[in-house]
């Protein structure tokens, strides 16, 4: 093990990476609320693992979606646990990411020089909402169906582009087969690809810039450190 690490270190200087990632300097006064970002990452990983497992037994067709979800819940060993983790994890994700955003806001951490972390963060937050919206339809139960009906009809109310937008979301004039496959593709292909890219960027910024110091009374401009 030691020799393997040495071997890699000699070629790739991996110990530098470890130092940059894990032995970073943290400003004084940083506490628990500064772990919300790492917690978001943890839940994102949980959602990735459980989501991949669910996809192995899920069928995105009106005929079988509900049946396959009930197959996961009742037939596959520990399927109810895996599904439960993904379902609760989805709510936890929205909650924790939002709390992280609130902490960044109230600590003034979004200010210079961290505007980019904030802007990327806003897009990540929107994608998290997208995950929730598209995932909710997938069990093809009454709740998901009507929630999607309401959601797409809200989009339809937008001036000018509304009807086109609703049609795009539904993949047609009515909510049906094509809506389900669309939402599935967006949920498991489009959004993960986007969010992975943005999270990588976000983490790069955070590691590169270091965490901001909590604001102090006599420094009204907030954290430049």
């Amino acid at each position: 093990m030691r020799t393997l690490v040495d071997w890699l270190d000699e070629r790739l200087q991996i110990r530098e990476i470890k130092v940059a990632l894990f032995d970073r300097k943290i400003p004084k006064g940083v506490g628990w609320i500064y772990t919300l970002g790492s917690l978001s990452l943890g839940i994102f990983l949980l959602q990735s693992v459980t989501g991949i497992l669910l996809a192995m037994n899920y069928s995105p067709s009106p005929q079988f979606a509900y049946e396959s979800v009930s197959y996961i819940t009742h037939q596959v060993t520990l399927g109810n646990i895996v599904r439960g983790l993904h379902k609760w994890g989805a709510s936890a994700m929205v909650l924790i990411v939002t709390l992280h955003m609130i902490r960044v806001y109230f600590m003034g951490s979004y200010k210079y020089p961290r505007e980019l972390s904030w802007v990327v963060g806003v897009f990540i937050w929107l994608i998290v909402m997208g995950f929730g919206f598209t995932g909710y339809l997938l069990p093809w139960d009454q709740k998901g169906y009507w929630a999607t009906m309401v959601g797409t009809t809200i989009a339809e109310q937008a001036p000018l582009v509304g009807p086109a937008l609703a049609k795009l979301l539904r993949g047609g004039d009515t909510l049906g087969t094509v809506t389900l496959t669309r939402f599935y593709a967006i949920h498991v292909l489009v959004l993960p690809a986007l969010v992975l890219t943005l999270i990588a960027l976000h983490l790069f910024f955070v590691v590169r810039q270091g965490i901001s110091a909590p604001p102090e009374r006599d420094k009204p401009d907030g954290p430049h450190a």
Binding site: G42, V49, M56, S68, T77, L78, I81, L85
Partner: protein
Amino acid sequence: MDPENSRRDFLKKSIFLLGGLMAVGVAVPGGTYFLSPLWRKGEEGWLELGEISKILPGEPVKVDYAQRRRDGWATIEEKSSAWVVTDDGKKFTVFDPHCTHLGCPYHWDTAKKKFLCPCHNATFGMDGQVISGPPPRPLDQFTTKVVGGKLLIKPRSGGA
């Protein structure tokens, strides 16, 4: 060790312990879920091939039947067939309709009185034994029973 270092050490260990526990907490149910096809049992049920009175001794008879079975979350109806042979109209041998070489469907050649597989020119006798060609073993048989004048077979799970 000075207190600052032992505190650091403690926190480091706690993080690894908690992180490890969380990872195991997901990996165990996740791994079990992923591996569950390994111990999942296929459905075993008897299938009805039809009245035995219609199966006459002498020539093998091809019986077509429909099989309804659960396939994951779907219930599918599959058409399948089997070759039935009897000497006395009481005891029946039922062959899986796939050649034991590479799975082609074979047929009964009335003139040659042999089962003939067209894919690689194999021939089997009426008892299922290989007469010529590449198949490594005699024709596969289904378990059979006769109940109330009807012939039943037990398909091997997974087989079509």
